[in-house]
């Protein structure tokens, strides 16, 4: 089950939405440009296209009119995890907590907008497709882009980033997965750059522009080249000249490159509270580490990067505090922290809303979506060999999706709706379009009589035993199963709660379930859904197989044209509804609360978390 061959293997979780790219470039009807700085979540979620200087849609960063950095500080908590290193892409330091901090210190060509849109950071540079076959992209870094120590950001940095993913010439057989035993030299969490663009960046040493040739026509190519680490620091710390390292990489001089691996793997990770010489940790973003700013068990303080060439940071200092979810609300109320994004539970939201006017609470929907999937293995009741489509339809008719959303999700987010698509989220602008083309609303309401009729049609004797499998320890899922149990009983399904602690390792993989209940976390990729719905691919746990779906995915994953992608998504969604792969239920709710004096807080549905635009926050 190696997952290296197909492109799209970028940092982030699996399922994606093809529509996101579309949202980014479909800026055709500029209607209401939202007031700069309004953080009304409703505005965030309806993606009216409003071209701005940054070139993206409303999902991207908006110009909020910051012209100079305000003296003072804003503090935020992403959770209890301590910071552990400047390099947040080694396997040891790779965590949400490190990533949110790294987001403030590194810039790259693209970032995720609030609705999962892939936005381009025009301040950093631009990218342009120069050839579609083979897919060749030219990257141009802004002339103004420099590290905070004055060194320009160049191809050198991207060369190291590519090399750190252990390309073929460095570690044979690793990136392409041909040699299971190959030991990586660099401890990088990803290998997609080396796998999808085996030759890496091509250009002159120290140049501001380079070209990358991709092995496949990968619609997710934008996500392959991520924000780089400073190559000049790694080179110097390993006893090399910065240009010599870049040259060694271009010359495929593996021996020289190997010298850098040790520092790259461990030199940028620190013991609690021990900041290194800050010359080793320059920033290409709006914030930079602050001398003495790391209190091991309490917080990490960043200071505005005065060498940043674009729009400056909002506040002089940005503090990341390490606070447990359960303690966040009171800490916010007492002013110990100003922006929080705790886990969205009914209790938390109620507690936050009770604080009063000093705190604003925004609930929204995230890119993680809950769904139930059928098991298509031949021995299973729902497979085409047994009950078939009729039985799946019967089950779909008795699953009370609306009442599940009403009772479990609406108390958190009153705007929550039943989700009727898999590749698009309700808050994305082409969702309605896709749903309209693929689904006629036949499973919107529970219809027990129709379900009974369908069971009879399938010829399976009642009661039909249905094991719903999910990972134990999730109250919301337990209640979902209970609701399905109660509703489907009358139709003739005997639903049992089959949760187990090792559901993902055992039951799901072995197929010991009739219906699986879990969530996919979206990552903004366009073609990653192929792994879930195409025959024989690793995330297709239910062993669903449909030639038309396979073909549609193939077309989608091989096209850079968003109209084609859009078309194929509609085809795929319709087929998945008609053959009933499973049922989407809802997008997970998220909650963000902040001191009402903090401006420009914009909740996001994506995985970067609310601090994605932290450099725009200003405290009045």
């Amino acid at each position: 089950m190696k997952f290296r061959s197909k492109g799209a293997a970028v940092l982030g979780l699996a399922l994606s939405s093809a529509l996101m790219l579309g949202a980014c470039t479909s800026g055709q009807d500029p209607e209401t440009t939202p007031e700069p700085g309004t953080s009304d979540s409703a505005t965030m979620q309806t993606s009216e296209s409003a071209p701005t200087e940054t070139g993206g849609t409303t999902g991207c960063l908006q110009d909020v009119g910051i012209t100079e950095t305000t003296d003072g500080q804003v503090s935020f908590t992403a959770g209890p995890g301590n910071w552990s290193g400047y390099n947040s892409v080694t396997s040891a330091t790779y965590s949400t907590y490190n990533s949110v901090i790294a987001n403030q210190m590194f810039s790259g060509f693209v970032y995720f907008g609030t609705d999962g849109t892939i936005c381009e950071d025009k301040d950093f540079g631009s990218l342009e497709v120069v050839s579609e076959d083979p897919l060749q992209v030219k990257y141009t870094i802004s002339d103004a882009a420099v590290w905070s120590d004055g060194t320009p950001v160049t191809i050198n940095d991207f060369l190291l980033d590519y090399t750190a993913q252990n390309p073929e010439w460095l570690v044979p057989g690793y990136a392409n997965g041909k040699d299971e035993k190959a030991e990586p030299l660099f401890d990088h969490v990803s290998n997609s750059f080396a796998a999808d663009a085996p030759e890496g960046p091509e250009g002159e040493v120290g140049a501001k522009e380079f070209t990358v040739t991709f092995a496949n026509k990968n619609p997710d190519y934008k996500l392959i080249v991520t924000a780089p680490l400073p190559a000049h620091v790694a080179a110097k710390q390993s006893g090399l000249e910065p240009d010599a390292l870049a040259k060694a990489i271009l010359d495929r001089d593996a021996e020289t490159v190997k010298k850098v691996a040790k520092f790259w793997n461990t030199g940028w990770a620190y013991n609690p509270g021990e900041l290194p010489d800050l010359a080793q940790t320059p920033s290409s973003g709006r914030y930079i580490l602050k001398e003495g700013g790391w209190q091991a068990d309490t917080a990490l303080t960043l200071v505005a990067n005065d060498k940043y060439w674009g729009k400056p940071a909002g506040m002089k200092n940005m503090i990341f505090r390490f606070i447990d979810d359960a303690q966040m609300a009171q800490a916010l109320q007492n002013g110990d922290v100003q922006v929080i994004s705790p886990q969205a539970t009914v209790d938390t939201v109620a507690q936050l809303k009770n604080i009063g006017e000093s705190v604003k609470v925004d609930t929204n929907q995230t890119l993680t979506w809950e769904h139930i999937d059928f098991n298509f293995r031949d021995t299973n009741e729902f497979s085409d060999a047994k009950g078939g489509l009729a039985l799946r339809e019967a089950f779909a008719l008795c699953v009370p999706r609306q009442s599940i959303v009403d009772s479990l999700i609406k108390p958190i987010n009153p705007d929550a709706v039943v989700m009727n698509a898999r590749e698009r989220f309700p808050f994305q602008d082409d969702y309605a379009d896709v749903v309209k083309a693929s689904y006629d609303g036949r499973y919107d309401a529970v219809d027990i009589e129709a379900a009974k009729a369908k069971i009879a049609e399938s010829g399976v004797a009642t009661p039909v035993n249905v094991r719903i499998g999910y990972r134990a320890g999730n109250q919301r899922r337990a209640e979902t199963v209970a609701a399905i149990q109660a509703s489907c009983k009358d139709a003739g399904f005997n639903v049992t709660d089959n949760s187990s602690a090792d559901f993902f390792e055992k039951d799901l993989v072995n197929g010991d379930y009739e219906v699986a209940l879990f969530a996919w976390a979206g990552s903004g990729q366009i073609a990653s859904g192929q792994n879930i719905y195409s025959t024989g691919l690793p995330q297709n746990y239910g062993e669903y197989s449909n030639k038309d779906v396979d073909a549609a995915w193939k077309t989608l994953a091989g096209s850079l044209d968003k109209t084609v992608q859009e078309e194929q998504v509609k085809v795929i969604e319709k087929l998945l509804w008609d053959t009933l792969y499973g049922l989407p239920i809802y997008a997970h709710p998220g909650v963000v609360a902040y001191d009402s004096r903090v401006e420009n807080v914009r909740p996001t549905s994506g995985q970067d978390g609310v601090s994605w635009n932290g450099s725009q926050w200003v405290v009045k």
């Binding site: 089950m1 190696k2 997952f3 799209a8 293997a9 970028v10 940092l11 982030g12 979780l13 699996a14 399922l15 500080q73 301590n82 552990s84 290193g85 080694t90 396997s91 040891a92 330091t93 965590s95 030991e183 990586p184 401890d187 969490v189 990803s190 290998n191 997609s192 461990t266 990770a269 620190y270 013991n271 609690p272 509270g273 021990e274 602050k290 700013g293 209190q295 068990d297 309490t298 917080a299 990490l300 303080t301 503090i319 505090r321 390490f322 606070i323 447990d324 359960a326 303690q327 009171q330 800490a331 007492n334 002013g335 110990d336 922290v337 993902f504 390792e505 996919w520 990653s528 995330q539």
Partner: protein, 506 residues
């Protein structure tokens, strides 16, 4: 004695070794360290699993990993500890040092307070057995003992931090608050003082007036924003403390002790008046320690040279006075800097963390900042641990008070105060020594819930995180420190026994 200690040490080492093997086995078998990755839908999942397996050496059998750990840990004997790395590649040695420091800062003050308050309450409630005060103390002790820490913490955060900070913006007492608080405080005090109905009534009335007066004064001068003790009150405080110390030790008739204490008081007052300005302007920890040390040396010399045949008593009395004077002086300095701190930190009592991040202030600002962060967790920890000390002291004190030698002392005509403080108290402390020693060992292990609720990453948290991530190295680092502390403290308890009860060492 040496042989006894050596034997104890030897046995302890073997126990530590066996315990470490057992804990290692339990930890590595408590779950699957790759669990979070197995559930991940991340495209780089296989890569992550492979890397973690390499980092944690999961492909090597557990006993080999254990021996690697043991090898590194045994280097501690030669002062070069290597406790391995945790799942995030950080040095466990430095994690343990950090965590232990954090834990000690959190729990030492709370434990000292709990012992002091608990023992005092225990003694008083034993002396006033079956009085209203005794019942009230017992009742409250059990209430606090059974208080769930996380719940108490949430309440405290709400009232002592959030509401208090809100109130502090304009700190005023309403007349009703003053009257009710003063009456309650006076009622508690008269219950503790005891006596017949007339005496109780007088105590009640007098203290009610005093409390109300103090609160009125605080309100009038917005004391909570601009608090101060100032030199005049410092002088009164030191003199009062001198009187109290004298009455607790030798009484007023012993001229030598009286002179020693008086000299100490005069030097303390004069000295503090001289250095107060310097300490306000350019304070530093060495300077403070130096001043404190100077006071103690003076007290010692005064007791030594003026004490005569009551030398021991004189030294102790003036020593205690010097400590009290130092405490009042520190309080004065802190309170005088409070309004400056309030300007930087408009909401001074935090609900979480051990320091204010990104906070720049002078020496006193940082000291006050540390103390305000300690305030809530210390209150919680003290409340929940007072109970056991109170109950143990009460029981042991009652036991001693019923001994024959106490009856003899009383029949010789020694005053009741002296009987209690001199004859009963010291003997009743012997069983308490064991409990205190165990508690100190337990201290290092941290207060897991308190640490979590107040966001301190101490030893308890280290252990918890290690266990949750099935990461044996931090767990073993925790074990090494707490196990050693337990062994060491037990030995201290044995030695303290001999010191407190000479019969044992014989």
């Amino acid at each position: 004695m040496t042989k006894f200690i050596a034997k104890r040490l030897g046995i302890s080492l073997v126990i530590l070794l066996l315990g470490s093997a057992l804990l290692y086995i339990l930890t590595v078998n408590s779950g699957d360290p790759l669990q979070d990755l197995r559930e991940s839908n991340s495209p780089n999942r296989e890569n992550l699993i492979r890397q973690r397996t390499l980092n944690m050496r999961l492909d090597v059998p557990w006993y080999l990993r254990y021996f690697t750990w043991l090898g590194g840990a045994s280097k501690c004997l030669i002062g070069a500890c290597d406790l391995g790395k945790n799942i995030a590649g950080q040095d466990v040695t430095s994690l343990v040092v950090n965590a232990a420091g954090s834990t000690l800062r959190l729990v030492v003050l709370a434990t000292v307070l709990a012992i002091a308050i608990g023992v005092t309450l225990g003694v008083v409630s034993a002396v006033r057995q079956y009085s209203g005060f005794d019942y009230a103390t017992t009742f409250m002790a059990f209430v606090f003992f059974s208080l769930p820490v996380f719940w108490a913490a949430v309440l405290l955060k709400n009232y002592a931090a959030i509401k208090f900070n809100n109130w502090l913006v304009d700190p005023t007492f309403s007349p009703v608050t003053i009257v009710v608080t003063a009456l309650i405080a006076a009622f508690v005090l008269q219950a503790a003082m005891g006596g017949n109905a007339r005496r109780r009534l007088i105590t009640f009335a007098a203290s009610a007036v005093v409390f109300a007066g103090v609160m009125f004064y605080f309100d009038a001068v917005t004391w909570f924003r601009y608090p101060s003790i100032g030199l005049p009150i410092y002088i009164l405080g030191v003199l009062g403390a001198g009187v109290l110390v004298l009455s607790m030790t030798s009484g007023f008739d012993n001229k030598r002790v009286r002179n020693a204490v008086a000299l100490t008081a005069v030097v303390a007052i004069g000295g503090y008046a001289a250095v107060r300005g310097l300490l306000m302007e350019s304070p530093s920890t060495p300077l403070l320690l130096l001043c404190g040390l100077a006071g103690l040396v003076v007290a010692f010399l005064a007791g030594w040279f003026l004490g005569g045949f009551s030398r021991k008593q004189a030294v102790i009395a003036s020593f205690v006075l010097a400590l009290v004077a130092a405490f009042i002086a520190i309080s004065d300095l802190l309170l005088s800097n409070w309004s400056g701190y309030l300007k930087l930190q408009s909401r001074p009592i935090p609900t979480i963390g051990s320091v204010t991040p990104n906070f720049t202030a002078g020496y006193w600002g940082h000291t006050i900042d540390t103390l305000t962060h300690l305030l809530l967790p210390t209150i919680v920890l003290t409340l929940v641990s007072i109970a056991s000390y109170t109950r143990y002291t009460r029981a042991s004190m009652l036991d001693v008070l019923n001994q024959d030698y106490i009856r003899t002392a009383r029949s010789k005509g020694i005053s009741e105060g002296k009987v209690v403080t001199r004859h009963a108290l010291r003997n009743s402390m012997i069983p308490l020594a064991t409990i205190v020693a165990f508690d100190f060992a337990g201290l290092i292990a941290g207060a897991v819930v308190t640490e979590t609720v107040f966001g301190w990453q101490g030893m308890g948290n280290l252990f918890r995180q290690g266990l949750l991530q099935i990461d044996p190295n931090p767990v073993m680092g925790f074990y090494l420190v707490t196990g050693t502390a337990a062994v060491f403290m037990n030995m201290i308890a044995d030695i303290a026994y001999a010191f407190l009860d000479p019969r044992i060492s014989r």
